[in-house]
């Protein structure tokens, strides 16, 4: 294992210190907890958003704490859902009196830990609402009751629900728009290489030279199948086909695109993928209102990418374009 770290046990702690030191204008650490909140938290008169999950997906979620997106982010051990007490601290630190929306990616552990935290906060009289993001079309919804996983599409939920909260909307309205985003966002990814959880010391799986995994999860959970590496255009077309089959867009629909790097994929390659995504959508007569290309939801040093499509309506489009000011996403 070749990593720029001091010790696997310290990596999350030291990362959080590094984040707080880098971005004091945006965020601060909640003393004694693995929680990053806005520097000025709690923001009075605004619904607060809390997200989080295992670490190793940076800039998710700490990088999206700031104006127009999240109020707090909880960092679990690498690839492991954070514990309820940590989430509970985050909720308490950001609640400005209008309640807190938890943005949870659909993993059993995340859902249970955030649930327990919500119960704890509600016992304190804090209003808490939850949304569960499940954008990964690689995992069929029907067959397995756990449902689809939450992956990179989550960033759109942060952006749009965060913008809604910034308007002064109440908890129910913020939750509603988050649900709308979740209903309209679909993603799928693929990986060229595995990654190594520091505490494990070795890769979570192996791929032969020239073999790729299609539909892989952001924690290295196996995908739909393995195949020989194809061209960027072929792979992109394959992922787009799966996404479009599920999202069912019509010509004239307006969408937002996120071509997300998993950690070790050069931006050069992500742009090559983006080119094909635009071609496919353009050929189908869809309008692309906004495109994001880069590392938004990573899996440590995994090489690969995911594509997310969000179908927009008037409200979500306006909120998507609203100003945001966070360490990893700024928009004027």
């Amino acid at each position: 294992m070749k990593k720029v770290i001091n010790a696997p046990e310290q990596v999350v702690e030291e990362m959080l210190q590094g984040i707080a030191l880098a971005h004091p204008q945006y965020v601060r650490r909640v003393e004694g907890f693995d929680v990053i909140v806005r520097a000025n938290a709690p923001v009075a008169g605004k619904v607060a958003l809390v997200s989080g999950g295992g670490s190793g997906h940076e800039p998710s979620h700490g990088g999206f704490v700031g104006k127009g997106m999240l109020d707090g982010a909880v960092a679990g051990a690498v690839f492991t859902s954070p514990t309820p007490d940590q989430v509970y601290e985050a909720i308490k630190a950001v609640d400005g009196g209008k309640g807190v929306l938890l943005v949870i990616k659909n993993y059993t552990g995340d859902v249970m830990n955030f649930d327990m935290a919500a119960e704890m906060a509600e016992a304190d009289g804090i209003k808490v609402a939850k949304v569960i993001v499940n954008d990964d079309v690689a995992v069929e919804n029907s067959t397995w009751t756990t449902g689809r996983r939450g992956i990179a599409g989550t960033v759109f939920v942060h952006k749009i629900a965060g913008a809604k909260a910034e308007t002064g909307a109440d908890l129910e309205a913020v939750q509603q728009v988050a649900e709308k985003v979740i209903a309209n966002v679909r993603s799928m990814g693929m990986a060229l290489t595995p990654c190594t959880v520091p505490a494990a010391g070795k890769p979570g799986f192996t791929l032969a030279e020239n073999e790729v995994e299609i539909g892989l999860g952001i924690h290295g959970e196996p995908g739909t199948h393995r195949e020989e590496l194809r061209s960027a255009d072929e792979t992109t077309a394959h992922l787009m086909e799966k996404i479009l089959a599920d999202l069912q867009l019509a010509a004239g629909d307006e969408v937002a695109v996120l071509v997300n790097g998993l950690g070790a994929t050069p931006l050069m390659e992500l742009y090559v993928v983006n080119r094909k995504v635009h071609q496919i959508l353009g050929d189908a007569g869809m309008k692309i209102a906004k495109t994001l290309v880069g590392n938004y939801m990573t899996s440590l040093e995994m090489a690969g990418f995911s594509i997310s499509l969000l179908k927009l309506d008037g409200e979500t489009k306006e909120l998507l374009f609203a100003a945001a000011d966070t360490p990893a996403f700024v928009q004027v």
Partner: protein
């Protein structure tokens, strides 16, 4: 009884820490390769906490301490599940100064229900329940048949072991392994394995204490 409970919990903690690699590698095959890491982190903390607990803390207090520690250190799916199990066990153990088979049955039943409430899974979904529930039922039956505590625990262990084998034959429909669909076949469930290991450690501990043998 309090120092006995501490020692029993330590035995359970030790076995989890010792099997960190095994549990992690089972999770690597059908999950995200962290079950052993998560559980070992939790039970290392439990070891520290229960050793440091005020002398004379009762059974319920120690179980609660264990549950709270697991909840706040394990994370993932197994943290809230095992954490809830110990919290419910603690509630059921309240007022109990010593443990007879009936007391254990009550506590165990509460713990099992806690896992079901929290995880919304049932037997046959390739989870820890596939070890835990048959083990519980075998224990209840053995107690009914007036077997000794150790004998009853042995029966429970046997059932848990069979449960592990059973998990190899089914497709996961709960937890992270469910994403695999048919590819989860042939692999044993990490959580079922950790459940069995804890039970086996408890059984060995009781045997070594010649408790109710």
């Amino acid at each position: 009884m309090s120092s006995f409970t501490v020692a029993a919990l330590e035995a359970v903690a030790d076995t989890i820490v010792q099997n960190k690699e095994l549990l992690t590698s089972l999770d690597a095959a059908i999950g995200d390769a962290d079950h052993g890491i998560n559980m070992a982190r939790g039970f290392e903390a439990v070891r520290v906490k229960i050793r440091a607990a005020a002398p004379g803390t009762d059974i319920s207090g120690l179980l609660k301490l264990t549950g709270m520690t697991l909840i706040s250190t394990v994370g993932g799916a197994s943290g809230p599940l095992y954490g809830t199990a110990f919290m419910r066990a603690a509630a059921a153990a309240q007022g109990k100064a010593t443990l007879d088979p009936d007391g254990i049955t009550q506590i165990w039943s509460a713990a099992l229900q806690g896992i079901k409430d929290r995880g919304k899974a049932s037997r046959g979904e390739k989870t820890m329940l596939d070890a835990m529930e048959p083990a519980y039922e075998a224990f209840v039956e053995a107690v009914k048949a007036e077997k000794s505590l150790v004998e009853s625990l042995d029966a429970a262990c046997e059932a848990a072991k069979e449960g592990i084998e059973y998990t190899k034959t089914i497709i996961a429909t709960k937890g992270r392994a469910s994403y695999l669909g048919e590819r989860s076949l042939g692999h044993q469930d990490p959580g079922a394995t950790s459940s069995y290991l804890m039970l086996a450690a408890l059984t060995e501990f009781c045997r070594s204490q010649q408790l109710g043998a």
